[in-house]
């Protein structure tokens, strides 16, 4: 079914109104030699019942967090979210509207995005946030561009402990722009402030440090950023986990100028990596160079408080080549999900989730290190994720756990981690969803595979 709604009589009436005898006349403008005469070589149409069967069939060949126990993280996490999120975001008025260009017909989306922006600003401890970007990696790249465009400098310092996908995207985005990326080497799984100091100069636009970092280790944002701030105008860019902001020091509390991160943990399913949402927050001074959609508060002609898209002169549809970014779509529905999540839980709820993540991750780490030959690689504090060294081939561990219905973590090998031996490290994440029983089972499996 192609979802069109015209019958033959109606089509004929419309042809007559236009003054054509057949639909082909409307396509005569296209030279015949490039017209598609044979038709597309695609599978014949499926009815809705057949689609349900086909989709169910394909879905049944996947195993993930729904039918296995998931301890995988590295930028995407299996968190709880309340059922009301799906119900609300599936409302047609949210689902089937577009970018709220017409304020008078879009107050619902506009107010929701304004609330989202405020929540993200408060969550990160910064002044402002945009209405979201594509995902964590693109948010980090936009944060770097924001710093570059604000300072007109040509170098960024990037922690080697940043998620490798983020470093890869930064390289792609900055590669034709004559920007130098200097990678800061880590010491014991984190960046020493002295390493920042050693690489600083007045050519540096921004210093990017992720915490918790790719190994799960909590970085010394305070120390790194105070080194960055010894050079005038250099932006301290914190790459953050929004759940960690519930209980650990926020980017704002560590004097970051810009914060970028992956918003998936806030009420969005794993979805095999997308759609997610990129979070970008900053100090007020960056407002006119922010990329992406921004919703502002204003009044209508009757003096009523209303909301509208604002600062559109930054954007591509007005500014073209001089726009702050080419971003056109935000991740509206994902931002709405995140906003509803934060509203349903509030600061106290997010703090509780964060605290449970902390406690469960630490319990698992303590239990694992009781096993012979299993050890934590780094001494640094961690939040919901940590790295262990397996006493045997990590692939053996992963495959064994998989055969028992457990996704036990992410093997560092093959992920192109920067600057660390790629032996048998396993990065394990524990969310509030994991029960003590599931955690104990994982420890038992580890004991079984490498006794």
């Amino acid at each position: 079914m192609d979802y069109t709604q015209l019958n033959t009589n109606q089509r004929e009436e419309m042809y007559a109104e236009i003054g054509i005898a057949s639909i082909d006349e409307l396509f005569d403008v296209i030279p015949s030699e490039i017209q598609c005469v044979e038709g597309l070589d695609l599978m014949p149409a499926l009815s809705e019942l057949e689609l349900q069967r086909a989709l169910s069939e394909m879905a049944s060949h996947n195993h993930g967090a729904h039918d296995m126990t998931c301890f995988m993280g590295c930028g995407a996490y299996d968190h709880f979210y309340p059922a009301l999120i799906d119900q609300l975001t599936n409302r047609a008025e949210f689902l089937t509207s577009y970018t709220p260009y017409q304020a008078e017909a879009s107050q619902g989306s506009l107010q929701a995005f304004f609330e989202f922006q405020t929540q993200i600003a408060r969550l990160t401890g910064l002044d402002i946030a945009n209405a979201s970007l594509y995902d964590g990696a693109t948010a980090v790249a936009e944060a770097a561009l924001l710093a570059i465009n604000s300072t007109r400098r040509k170098e960024v310092l990037v922690a080697s402990t940043l998620q490798p996908e983020y470093i890869a995207v930064l390289r792609t985005v900055l590669s034709d722009l004559d920007i130098t990326i200097t990678v800061l080497e880590s010491t014991d799984g984190k960046i020493a402030p002295s390493t920042v100091e050693a690489n600083m100069s007045d050519e540096v636009a921004g210093v990017i440090v992720q915490s918790p970092n790719i190994w799960g280790v909590i970085e010394d944002w305070d120390g790194c950023f105070s080194e960055a701030h010894k050079t005038l105008k250099t932006a301290a860019i914190a790459v953050f986990n929004p759940i960690a902001c519930g209980v650990l020091k926020t980017p704002g509390e560590c004097s970051a100028d810009i914060a970028a991160g992956e918003g998936q943990p806030l009420g969005n399913p794993l979805n095999l990596g997308g759609p997610y949402l990129g979070l970008l927050a900053a100090k007020e001074s960056y407002i006119r160079k922010m990329p992406g959609r921004l919703v502002g508060m204003t009044n209508d002609e009757d003096g009523r408080r209303v909301f509208c898209l604002t600062l559109q002169t930054r954007e591509q549809h007005i500014r073209g080549a001089k726009a702050t970014s080419n971003v056109c779509t935000n991740q509206g529905l994902m931002a709405l999900r995140a906003s509803i999540f934060m509203t349903a839980l509030g600061s106290d709820g997010i703090r509780e989730i964060a605290t449970q993540c902390w406690n469960k991750a630490h319990y698992l780490a303590q239990e694992i290190t009781k096993l012979d030959g299993w050890e934590l690689i780094f001494d640094g504090d961690f939040f919901n994720e940590f790295t262990v060294k397996c006493p045997c081939d990590v692939t053996k561990v992963v495959d064994f756990c998989k055969s028992r219905g457990v996704l036990c973590g992410v093997a560092a090998a093959g992920r192109r981690m920067h600057g660390l031996s790629q032996g048998n490290e396993l990065i394990i994440a524990v969310t509030e969803k994991r029960t003590k029983h599931e955690i104990d089972t994982l420890v038992d499996l580890f004991g079984e595979v490498a006794p």
């Binding site: 192609d2 979802y3 069109t4 709604q5 042809y15 236009i18 006349e25 296209i30 490039i34 598609c36 695609l42 349900q52 989709l55 394909m58 996947n62 993930g64 967090a65 039918d67 709880f80 609300l88 008025e93 949210f94 089937t96 577009y98 260009y101 304020a103 017909a105 619902g108 609330e115 990160t124 964590g136 998620q163 996908e165 995207v169 004559d178 209980v247 926020t250 979805n271 095999l272 997308g274 407002i287 009044n299 509208c308 604002t310 559109q312 549809h317 500014r319 080549a321 080419n326 779509t329 935000n330 529905l333 994902m334 509803i340 509030g346 600061s347 709820g349 406690n359 992963v398 996704l407």
Partner: protein, 499 residues
């Protein structure tokens, strides 16, 4: 013609605005609870403690009420005629939502081993090959997160190709003066400069194209970005000649595929000489726009550009299993965190599969028919610079009107747009691609009755301008709010609620 009675469904004066969540907070009440901690506690070192403490919550029923009230204050495709030109606001089939929310799709971690996600990889591989067939091009990458992201990715691919072929000096990109704003903005993000090519009567000015090529120097040009059908809603009948001119300059032809809704199964971009293009799945393939996303912008390229596509790529092995290829020697690298907008592509697969080859062709034919029908019925009152059916000049899936004779009576385009809101119609795209224009795209999924209602609304507004112009000047009167003061909003921006 039906006369519409704008009944006072609700009087704006009495209708309270919805308070912000920050104004609703209730202490010691929560919207959702969590199970008690079931493991021993580990103290968080004091020095690390901090965290946000100012996010409000309130009771669960009030959470539902808040967002339900907000949803009441939105026009949508399901609730309103939404002819937003270039945005293709077509029906969003709910089978697509059903499929994407299946736990076997929604609960997959992006770093899982390929052997645990064979069904998902098969869906992606099939989507890839279907999009290749529809484009008539060699290979599709599903990675880009939106159309603009697709432009960026494809331009990077083109630049990488030239760098690899000893022509790094090809850094100029040509774009039509009616191009989407994303085109030049994407060029800037790729470190390319932009030269504008004029259009005349909505078609590329071939003489000017050749002039610009001569001025810039053929050897400096990377690509010409063209939207076809153009943003003015016209198929460029010279497209093959344009491709030849661009190719003889040694450059690549990039198709902005925003308007694929007019071409499905009738023309394949690869057949008219495009070297690279992006799709907008939320436009062409019915994935919901969601208040501004998520989108998804797969790109298609020719065989010579394919080695430079981003990683990972979804592949089928000889034994019929599927895998992600993360090693392409010449790849531009990564453009996003993980594989693709998977949830969006599940919907895209479901839509293409529901339509089949004949259905897709009918989609385009009906989209074009609907636009021409409305144009034919409105052209007496709403002047159309390019639409002239007597002389065989039709539109594609959308049309442009510059209603000068109405504007001359003392209304602005905005006044007409705001009056449309009173009739429950979302205004079309405005002032783009030309000044003082509406760009109207009804899409193929509207019924004839809906098209006729829209036509009646437009004619009635034209009548009102004659009979009661104040009514139009004072509009909207029936919407939730009066006109928003966007100038003050930009002058002193408040984008976060004060603490």
């Amino acid at each position: 013609m039906t006369t519409f009675d704008v009944t006072k469904k609700h009087s704006r004066g009495d209708r309270a605005t919805e308070p912000l969540i920050f104004e609703k907070q209730v202490d010691d009440v929560v919207g959702v609870d969590l199970p008690p901690l079931d493991v021993p506690e580990t103290k968080i070192p004091t020095i690390m403690q901090g965290g946000s403490k100012t996010l409000p919550t309130f009771g669960q029923h009030d959470v539902m009420a808040h967002y339900t009230h907000l949803s009441d204050r939105n026009f949508s495709v399901d609730g309103n005629f939404y002819p937003l030109g270039s945005c293709t606001m077509k029906h969003n089939p709910r089978i697509n939502e059903w499929g994407a929310s299946l736990p076997g799709f929604a609960c997959l971690h992006p770093l899982q081993d390929d052997d645990t996600i064979q069904g998902a990889l098969r869906l992606l591989y099939e989507t890839r090959t279907m999009l290749e067939e529809i484009s008539g091009m060699h290979e599709v990458s599903l990675q880009p997160a939106a159309g603009a992201h697709g432009e960026f990715t494809a331009l990077k691919v083109i630049r990488a190709y030239f760098a690899d072929h000893g022509q790094p000096e090809r850094t100029v990109v040509l774009a039509a003066d009616t191009a989407h704003g994303t085109n030049p903005a994407s060029c800037t993000m790729c470190g390319a400069s932009v030269q504008t090519v004029r259009t005349s009567n909505g078609q590329t000015d071939l003489d000017h194209l050749q002039e610009v090529i001569a001025d810039v120097g053929a050897e400096n040009i990377a690509a010409f970005m063209i939207t076809n059908p153009s943003t003015a809603g016209l198929f460029d009948s010279n497209i093959k000649k344009i491709a030849d001119i661009v190719h003889s300059a040694g450059a690549k032809l990039y198709l902005d595929g925003a308007n694929m809704n007019a071409m499905l199964g009738r023309v394949r971009p690869g057949d008219f000489g495009a070297d690279a293009m992006h799709y907008n799945t939320h436009k062409t393939f019915s994935t919901p726009h969601g208040g501004g996303g998520p989108g998804s912008g797969p790109i298609a390229v020719t065989e010579e550009l394919a080695p430079y596509l981003p990683v990972p790529q979804v592949m089928m092995a000889d034994d019929g299993s599927f895998y992600l290829d993360r090693d392409r020697e010449k790849s531009i690298g990564k453009v996003r965190s993980f594989i693709c907008q998977f949830g969006v592509l599940v919907r895209c697969w479901a839509y293409i599969s529901a339509c089949g080859p004949n259905g897709l062709r009918n989609v385009s034919e009906t989209a074009v028919l609907n636009a021409n029908y409305i144009a034919a019925k409105l052209r007496e009152r709403y002047a159309m610079p390019f639409f002239d059916p007597q002389n065989g000049n039709y539109c594609a899936h959308e049309f442009v009107t510059v209603p000068q004779q109405l504007l001359d009576k003392g209304v602005t385009l905005i006044d007409i747009a705001k009056r449309m809101i009173d009739y429950g119609v979302h205004p079309p795209t405005m002032h783009w691609p030309i000044h003082d224009c509406f760009m109207v795209e009804p899409t193929e999924t509207e019924s004839k009755a809906a098209l006729d209602s829209f036509i009646d609304v437009m004619l009635q507004i034209a009548d009102e301008i004659d009979s009661d112009i104040e009514l139009v000047l004072q509009s909207p009167q029936e919407s939730d709010i009066a006109r928003a003061d966007e100038v003050s909003a930009a002058r002193k921006p408040i984008i976060a609620y004060p603490k």
